[in-house]
Amino acid sequence: MAAAFDPSGRLPDLFTNAGTSSFSAFLSQAAPELLPGRRPLPPGMATDLTPHATTIIAIAAAGGVVLAGDRRATMGNLIAQRDIEKVYPADAYSLVGMAGAAGIGIELIRLFRVELEHYEKIEGAMLSLDGKANRLAAMVRGNLGAAMQGLAVVPLFAGFDLAATDPAKAGRIFSFDVTGGPYEEVGYDAVGSGSLFAKSALKKRFRYGLSVDDAVRLAVEALYDAADDDTATGGPDLTRRIYPVVMSATAEGTHRLTEAETAAIAESVVAGRMENPGG
């Protein structure tokens, strides 16, 4: 690793100076090659190099927020992976998912999670929800060069705002584009190739003040609708038992629904569509 020790054996000044509380700012000096946006790419389009991760949905509920993602990654017309996971807890109270170039997206999320944890450990306090969204925007912007060569990553960030005065509005959603952001969304949002269909479904069915459980069900329904019309989005795979990843962030922290829970919801959604394919 680049950030080794100097000959005296002590940690370099870079490690010990007061400097910054941001891990990516530290990395940019200690090991810039670990930052996704800092690698020079050879010219030309690189779109086909990496699988593309698809649809992520966020829904604000009363007292929290739900983030759900399908499990498919595609390369052109092929399915690259059936059980990829694209939704993660970013820290104790926030969730992040991504669509786009899978390799870069996974790396970006990994770095973002370390970034939040690092700040928390150095400063002894968590970043505000807006602070987290701004950091993520800066990291997405750092990838702009690669995005212009076809390796775009667009995350979706949602979390429980501990500073919110009204607990009913504590669940907040932020979207991004390849040039950064963040753009705060009201109610719901989706990213990825199936987002058009998911958002159309949500437009008709979303209501303010949904319970977290209802929002979870709605998210799985919307993912079904996305998979119904977008070949790059995977629906619930009942034969292989691969179901969407669904997470929530509430005052109690982040929570991932167990496999059994998502299986039950997905099976019930599929059973409903047996009678009425349009939902």
Partner: protein
């Protein structure tokens, strides 16, 4: 012209050691010990904002006595090193031993190269699957490292504190008992005429590395949870769970290795 006096290297090292020892002994002490449920840090600290105990990584904690700016500097370096290694390799590849080594090299280099050594004493603790697998490293101002057997005291009058710890500490203690032993040990010195004294809850900084957790195990024990522990060692775990720092309250199982 000023006359340059010769000072032997031995004399220089002795002077530096003396300076560091005096500086460390002036401050308030801290103890670290293994108990059944993890590793306990207890430091006497009047400030609730400037911490002597901190989180480094998933299963690694840090405690220090001496000059705040100097050990805070090392703690930041430790967090940066741990996060960098964890990102480059895997979270499991960050170890207390590697951190203790880096701190030892740094303290050793500062001790020999700089005119003033760091006036700090540090503990790097890593919680294991059982109390026998816990690792406690004591690092002193000159860069020496010691692997301590499940308990240690740092700061001033440590012999007396360590003696109390040695006679009362067992690795299979509950959290409540462990906190009581730690506070009793810290309070065994510094009273009127060398007598024991009572230390109030608001003068204590208490944190644990929770053995049972997956992911980040470090939690601070503050407020009502701490008072409950001090008042009644047995009514422990439940209330401690309830009011430790919200920031650390994620269910660790939901934080897959990243």
């Amino acid at each position: 012209m000023a006359m340059q006096f010769y000072a032997s290297p031995e004399q220089i090292m002795r002077d530096r050691s003396e300076l560091a020892r005096k500086g460390i002994a002036r401050g308030r002490s801290a103890v670290v010990l293994s108990y059944a449920g993890g590793v306990l840090f207890v430091a006497e600290n009047l400030s609730s904002a400037l911490h002597k105990v901190g989180e480094i990584y998933d299963r690694i904690g840090f405690a220090a006595v001496g000059r705040y700016n100097e050990f805070e500097n090392l703690r930041r370096a430790g967090v940066r090193m741990a996060d960098l290694n964890g990102l480059s390799y895997d979270r499991r590849d960050v170890t207390g031993r590697a951190l203790a080594n880096a701190f030892a090299q740094t303290l050793g280099a500062i001790f020999t190269e700089q005119s003033k050594p760091f006036e700090v004493e540090i503990c790097v603790a890593q919680v294991g699957a059982t109390a026998a697998e816990d690792e406690l490293y004591r690092l002193t101002y000159d860069g020496s490292v010691n692997d301590e057997p499940g308990r240690m005291a740092m700061g001033g009058q440590t012999e007396a504190i360590a003696a109390v710890l040695k006679s009362n500490h067992r690795p299979d203690m509950s959290l409540g008992d462990a906190v009581k032993v730690a506070v009793q040990a810290l309070g065994s010195v510094g009273g009127e005429g060398g007598a024991a004294r009572a230390i109030a809850a608001d003068q204590l900084e208490v944190a644990i590395l929770d053995r049972g957790r997956v992911g980040r195990t470090f939690r601070r024990v503050t407020g009502a949870a701490l008072t409950a522990l001090l008042d009644d060692g047995e009514a422990t775990a439940a209330s401690a769970e309830a009011s430790t720092e919200a920031a650390d309250s994620t269910d660790a199982a939901e934080r897959p290795d990243s």
